[in-house]
């Protein structure tokens, strides 16, 4: 963050998204929104409500239910002078846009010799715990982060939502912004001034001495709760904020200090981001570790529908607190 001279206000994540996009659209007339139900309903989570009236139908553009074309036409617009902000309702629908993400958006700049800017923001949301079953309940930032050429950020708090979303819109590269349905109504203090968070920078959200917890999105909030609960252990909570490119140094520095790490995310344990976080720690802090890194995530099943089943598979505060106690 550039400066911290202004005041703050308490806001919910959902209102921050609306405010940040509104400000970016005012700041730059090339910024526009396209997606399903973005105009009228304000997007599937009603977050964009009111932007249509402020900016008109041209700049808050309802699309047919055509993810290939939604993403691909935004790419073409980004390559020719616009700065599109796309909404993909649920991250599971990214699969429908598969080729455009994998082979076009991610590779266009590099494959053409680095000769064009692609100021394209793709917002989507991870969802867990909404009893929506496997197609609507999953976290997929690890999937996109595995494709070189896409920058991937995960928003978690009101303050980082503003900083990261604005950075994405102003970036000249394609940025995937993964929101999380579980944090939309979370509130927190947000600086009132205009600011961006650097893409590629993690943050120590809460300093501590004994155990490091690296956590994203809803799990970040669970990590705060777990840290409060184990009040005899000094817990340092680190938010990666950007998944790709990952800020290895901030994570490693914390690991070197505490020597004991828990990594938690809503992605599957196998090939999820937990593995990348853990590898970062092993490669950069191996000789300072007292214990193996504890990975917490979904145990390699699709998210089931029934509340009793879904509660079983999604990591929660108890899981994080137990892991902290195990290490402390």
């Amino acid at each position: 963050m550039s400066t911290a001279t202004s005041g703050t206000e308490e806001m919910a994540v959902r209102d921050v998204i609306n405010q940040a996009l509104g400000e970016e659209m005012e700041r730059d007339e090339r910024v526009y929104i396209q997606g399903i139900d973005v105009n009228g309903r304000g997007g599937t989570s009603n977050i964009l409500k009111g932007l249509d009236e402020r900016f008109g139908d041209e700049r808050v553009r309802n699309t047919p239910i055509s993810e290939v074309s939604i993403v691909g036409s935004a790419l073409g617009a980004a390559a020719t002078g616009m700065r599109p902000v796309v909404e993909i309702m649920y991250c599971g629908f990214l699969g429908v846009a598969g080729d455009q993400l994998l082979n076009q958006v991610a590779k266009m700049r590099y494959m053409f010799g680095g000769k064009l800017d692609l100021p394209l923001t793709i917002r989507t949301k991870n969802v867990m715990g909404a009893n929506a079953a496997a197609q609507h309940s999953q976290a997929l930032h690890h999937w996109l982060a595995a494709i070189p050429g896409l920058k991937v950020v995960c928003t978690s708090t009101p303050a980082d939502t503003k900083g990261l979303l604005k950075a994405a819109v102003r970036s000249n590269d394609p940025v995937m912004v993964f929101e999380h349905g579980g944090v939309y109504n979370r509130k927190g203090e947000v600086p009132t001034e205009d600011y961006v968070y650097e893409i590629g920078e993690a943050a120590v959200e809460r300093p501590g001495e004994d155990v490091t917890v690296v956590a994203t999105q809803n799990q970040l909030w669970n990590a705060f709760e777990a840290a409060d609960r184990v009040d005899d252990v000094s817990v340092e909570v680190v938010s990666p904020r950007t998944i790709s490119p990952l800020d290895t140094e901030t994570i490693a520095e914390s690991a070197r200090k505490t020597g004991r790490c828990v990594v938690v995310d809503d992605t599957p344990l196998s090939y999820g981001t937990q593995s990348q976080f853990a590898t970062t720690i092993y490669e950069n802090a191996f000789f300072d570790l007292d214990f193996p890194v504890q990975r917490i995530g979904v145990n390699d099943v699709p998210t089931p529908f029934s509340p009793s089943l879904e509660d079983e598979v999604i990591p929660d505060t108890d899981d994080i607190a137990d892991a902290i106690r195990k290490l402390a």
């Binding site: 047919p64 074309s69 036409s73 073409g76 390559a79 020719t80 053409f112 010799g113 680095g114």
Partner: protein, 336 residues
């Protein structure tokens, strides 16, 4: 047709000569790189445009500098017709630093965004959504630019085609889709790729979207040019998308090295009678637009150009291996 319309359709002599030159340059480039590929000088895959020159030429001559196009894996002809330099194209095929993509793209990915050429594309139908976005951008920026997407008959089976034309029709975008019906999708004939009801007119795939449709002879550069001019004019004036089927034939295999087991005997020879590089020079000589001697001069000049392009490619350095890590992301920029 009224005399006024007839006059409008008359193509100036210099434009006709330039179209002949463009087609001849494409043919020469393709024939030479075909040999260099066979000699193992060119790495990777090679998909040749030989036989289809009239399509890229007729369409691109109807465009202005401000317009956009997307191409396919068979994209050399579109690049040349768009005005890209054959030396930098050849260098890209050779994987050299001086190529259009600094050796990162190769034959299937030549692009020159500054020239409005938004890329050849290795994914069938992959460029159609991108062209749709360029057309959207043109409209939102309140310009009269248009976007053309070239694609094969095979692309009509991809969702990307349908999603794009649906969206372009709803938004009345200045998009022109050019179906290059070369009779084969890879190594499989049309009749195994599309139902019988479509084979007489593949633009039927655009019918539900209500776009303007034209089915024309893709071996006749002037018919392609006239049709493209009309589509461009309509798009520039807010008349929305057009879908043009150019019926043609692919003289070479899907890629170099393809045994072409699937071609019925005699089919190729029959189509070669209509080779635009045979018929069009003849036509222009017959009509006194160009003399035989002038055409020979033109051919010699083109042979020299392409030979020099190959020399440029051969002599250019390979990229430094470290360059593999450059060009992925934009330098600087706020929050970048």
């Amino acid at each position: 047709m009224s005399p006024a319309d007839e006059a409008k359709r008359e193509i100036p002599a210099d434009e006709r000569i330039e179209m002949l030159r463009t087609m001849r340059r494409i043919r020469e480039f393709e024939s030479v790189v075909q040999n260099k590929f066979a000699d193992a000088e060119i790495p990777g895959f090679l998909h040749l445009y030989i036989g289809q020159e009239a399509i890229a030429t007729g369409v691109c001559h109807a465009l202005e500098e401000k317009d956009y196009l997307t191409s396919t894996h068979r994209g050399h002809g579109h690049c040349i017709a768009r005005g890209l330099d054959t030396d930098r194209m050849a260098a890209e095929l050779y994987g050299k630093e001086t190529g259009y993509c600094n050796g990162k793209g190769g034959s299937m990915h030549i692009a020159d965004v500054e020239a409005g050429m938004l890329g050849a594309n290795g994914i069938v139908a992959g460029g159609i959504p991108i062209a749709t976005g360029a057309a959207l951008s043109a409209k939102m920026r309140d310009t009269d630019e248009v976007a053309v997407s070239f694609f094969g008959d095979g692309a009509l089976s991809e969702g990307a085609f349908h999603e794009s034309f649906n969206q372009a029709a709803i938004w009345e975008l200045p998009l022109i889709g050019v179906i290059e019906n070369n009779q084969y999708g890879e190594m499989t004939g049309l009749d195994e790729q599309h139902p019988p009801s479509t084979l007489d007119d593949l633009t039927i795939y655009g019918e539900p979207y209500g776009v303007h449709r034209e089915r024309i002879d893709g071996m006749d550069v002037e018919e392609v040019y006239r049709t493209a001019m009309e589509a461009v004019e309509r798009a520039r004036n807010g008349g929305g998308p057009t879908l043009i089927e150019c019926v043609a034939y692919r003289f070479e295999g899907h890629h170099e090295g393809d045994s072409q087991f699937y071609r019925p005997e005699g089919e190729l020879d029959e189509w070669k009678q209509r080779d635009p590089l045979l018929t069009y020079p003849e036509k222009l000589v017959d009509e006194g637009v160009i003399t035989e001697a002038e055409y020979v001069d033109m051919e010699e000049g083109i042979e020299t150009e392409i030979q020099e392009a190959i020399e440029f490619a051969r002599e250019s350095p390979l990229p430094d291996p470290e360059q593999a890590y450059e060009g992925l992301y934009a330098e600087g920029g706020e929050g970048a």
